[in-house]
Amino acid sequence: MENIFKRLSALNATTILFLLTGIFVVLFLYAKPAIKEYGIKFLIDPRWGVSINPNKPSNNQDKAVVNQDNENIVVEEEDIGGNVPVDQEEIIQTDEEDIAINDEDALSQKSKVIYGGLIPIVGTVLSTVIAMAFAVPIAMGIAVFLSEIAPFYISKPVGVAIELLAAIPSIIYGMWGLFYFGPVVSRIFGGGSVGLLVAGLVLGIMIIPFMASLSRDSMNTTPSVLKESAYAMGATKFEVIKDVIFPYAKSGIIGSMILALGRALGETMAVAFVIGGVFKLPEKITDPSVSIPVVLANNFAESSGMSLSALFYLALILFVISFLVISFAKFYFLRDKK
């Protein structure tokens, strides 16, 4: 009995390892057709769902078809010029049956469609950068305010409020961004009420509570002896914060920033409402664009064949990036916690 339970518990702990490697392997397997087809150039190819006319008869299509079920050719075969906004792909799906009939003819003569990941990757990076630029100063302000400036009877309820706000589902932030925040931003900065800027700002607001409460916790661990001796030397509050608290809590603060960064990278719902969902390289910061999670959210259920594989490729990229970012934060900055 004892032995059985011990084995069982060890097995369960290993489940986590299995799950993580499982996610990686599964994503990789499903992304394989796209990886084979586009290789590393996928990362810098700004064309998503753009059809090109191959001069030479290419056998690439067969590769794409082999892996998937019977509906897979629909999206690829459809003659799509220029950029493919989300809706367009959805529309295509609705006439699936009609097109499926013509599959055989289509296969032989139509051009093939290229999928490249540059636009969602750029969108993800830019929206995250905006979010961080916006959130870091405010979150630091809140953390300093809570741990050093505010008296206990203010810092306590405000701290609780901040932690509660971190618990609000991200979809709420997205909805609020779409209906209330977006219009305000567009009035101030111009552009539409959806776009990269709005997405980045909403994302920033979403990670503020998370970053602020983690940073505050780590600032609070500064021994009061250190602070008091600095004050006794005649240091001002700012000098204590700058020269005593920040150096002491540095690794915790940076760790919290990187964790928040990881969260922002993979956030779907808060961004999906407000980024616009348009496959276009942004020229201005207020332009609508698209990020990896949003592409997945909008297109996944309706895709098949090569487009699905390309989506898995994107998911894999996102998974690997966020895995690296978070492990970096964990192993490098937050190590001494354990």
């Binding site: 004892e2 011990k6 609000i168 909805m175 509050k237 000098e239 719902m269 409402f273 959210a297």
Partner: protein
């Protein structure tokens, strides 16, 4: 000069705090106003086809409960292993870190994973797939909670159990888990609150359903997915329903969080 700089920095910091708080309260206030405006009795008695939320609320609860039923045993026993059985400390530390990393893995990626291993083989979205996706999200949270809470149990209790000759699994179940009960339950409550608001992993695993159903083999109604779909519709009535749903969801999550906080505080006393 130093004093002036000090004043300026403190002022800026307070200003930043106020600004952050302003945004956050702005969200809460609009949510409350819009939500309460849209609330009425029909929201609770009708299904989505008839402009209500009944099937969605029930569906979301079922999905989250199933996730708890799947995720809690796995996560809890894994947590017990980390705290009680792992003499090989390197492996335990490795799993611990891995679980923390997985806790922050993008939820949409977990959705794609479940889509690949459950939805594609079966050929359609289903309630089971949604519950599984939520369970995968939940496991690392449960592991972390159990691990932390068992770590708080004093060593003497363990030694006392072993000293009277009880086998280890008995010590774990009858002594340690009992001692850590409140903390663990609170942790589960918070984990539940966290996954019940998840949208991304459900989008293409459980999908959505306008009708009331308890059949987990079909597309399953989910409040969060419905909020996403409804709020981008042009029909103002539907948007209002989405607001009502968003309000109820947030209220529920916040109440659970406050409750968990209260329990922890009571216990400490």
């Amino acid at each position: 000069m130093r004093l002036v700089i000090n004043k300026i920095v403190l002022f800026l910091s307070t200003l930043a705090a106020l600004m952050g708080l302003m945004f956050l309260f702005w969200i809460l206030i609009t949510l409350t106003l819009k939500g309460i405006n849209a609330l009425n009795i029909h929201i609770f008695t009708n299904d989505l086809v008839n402009n209500g939320l009944r099937n969605l609320l029930i569906g979301q609860f079922i999905l989250a409960f199933l996730a708890v039923i799947i995720g809690v045993p796995i996560g809890m026993i894994a947590g017990i292993y980390l705290q009680e059985y792992s003499f090989d400390n390197k492996y335990a530390a490795f799993i611990r870190n891995l679980s923390d990393v997985m806790m922050s893995a993008p939820s949409i990626v977990i959705g794609t994973f479940i889509y690949a291993i459950v939805v594609m083989p079966f050929g359609h979205m289903s309630g089971w797939a949604g519950a599984l996706a939520l369970a995968v999200m939940m496991i690392p949270i449960i592991v972390r909670t159990t691990d932390d809470m068992l770590g708080l149990v004093p060593r003497e209790l363990r030694e006392a159990g072993i000293a009277i000759g009880a086998p280890k699994y008995k010590v774990i179940f009858d002594i340690i888990l009992k001692a850590a009960k409140v903390g663990i339950m609170t942790g589960f409550l918070l984990a539940f609150a966290r996954i019940i608001g998840e949208t991304a992993p459900l989008l293409f695993t459980s999908g959505n359903n306008e009708y009331f159903t308890l059949d987990l083999n079909r597309e399953f109604p989910s409040l969060t997915v419905a909020i996403y779909n409804l709020s981008t519709m042009p029909d103002k009535n539907l948007v209002d329903i989405a607001w009502a749903g968003a309000f109820l969801l947030t209220l529920f999550v916040l109440v659970i969080n406050l409750l968990g906080r209260y329990i922890v505080k009571e216990k400490k006393r």
